[in-house]
């Protein structure tokens, strides 16, 4: 199961559809507050895909909630400083949008064991 946290509707819908095409059940929220609430309610996720620019939440805050699953950061930013900031904020992998099979499939394979 994957959680997609992206404030942009087009991106969130596409990211969820891509995951579903690989058989991954997904939840989608458009803001950090709803992501926090969903995680706090006890729903478990194997993978979180999170946009870099979100109000309320960043990767570290999710980590602070005891979430240890793989976190994949996605962003329209492409600079090295953004990459470092994103990684420092708690994501495991950083991808410049669009999320594509080339980057997603190895992660899904890894999670599949």
């Amino acid at each position: 199961t994957a959680l997609v946290v992206d404030g942009d509707t087009t991106c969130r819908v596409l990211e969820q559809l891509l995951l579903r095409s690989y058989g991954v059940q997904t939840h989608g929220v458009d803001n950090g507050r709803d992501a926090v609430a969903l995680i706090a309610s006890g729903v478990k996720f194997n993978l979180i895909i999170i946009d870099m620019i979100l109000p309320v939440l960043n990767g570290l805050e999710i980590r602070d909630m005891g979430v240890h699953c793989k976190m994949l950061g996605v962003t329209a930013c492409s600079g090295e400083s953004e990459r470092q900031a994103f990684l420092a904020a708690g994501v495991d992998v950083f991808i410049e949008k669009p999320l594509d099979p080339e980057h997603l499939v190895p992660i899904l394979r890894e999670l599949d064991g």
């Binding site: 942009d8 087009t10 596409l14 559809l17 620019i53 329209a76 930013c77 949008k97």
Partner: protein, 153 residues
């Protein structure tokens, strides 16, 4: 059968022209491959979402750039950033490319440059919308004639 073949040929040629002219890139092809019997109208629906997002973001940019008391370039940049993300996700290459230039002008706090980019992005969005609507009409005609949509690589 002849009508279907003709329509399919038209569809392939039109798709190819959209890629050749830079309106769409490979990401759009990837999206078309995700379309299946479970989600037959997926690409049309996502394109509609993208158009709605575009209009909202372009309006936000225009309002922010109109401010007489001083432009909040961070606010403009936030909208451009979002549009860059959604345009790259759907494969709208020319819109995305304008956004890249637009962000540079936001960073430089260059209002004139931003206004030019706003004009360009509005123009590119309108062009893309018209062209995709033509493409989707061709799709509908093929399906109505009993044919299937060709996959264009």
């Amino acid at each position: 059968m002849d009508v279907v073949n003709q329509l399919q040929r038209q569809f392939i040629d039109y798709s190819a022209s959209l890629h050749r002219e830079g309106f769409l890139d490979d990401q759009f092809t990837q999206l078309q491959k995700l379309q299946d019997d479970n989600s037959p109208d997926f690409v049309v629906e996502v394109a509609s979402l993208f158009f709605e997002d575009c209009e909202k973001l372009i309006n936000n940019m225009a309002r922010a750039l109109e401010q007489q008391q001083g432009v909040d370039f961070k606010q403009v940049d936030a909208s451009v950033h979002q549009l860059k993300g959604s345009s790259s996700s759907i494969g709208a290459m020319r819109v995305k490319d304008v956004c890249i230039a637009f962000r540079s002008f936001c960073e430089a706090q260059n209002r004139e440059g931003c206004l030019r980019c706003l004009q360009q992005v509005t123009h590119e969005y309108s062009l893309l919308k018209n062209k995709l609507q033509t493409l989707f009409r061709l799709q509908q005609q093929i399906l109505a004639a009993g044919g299937s949509i060709p996959v264009v690589e």
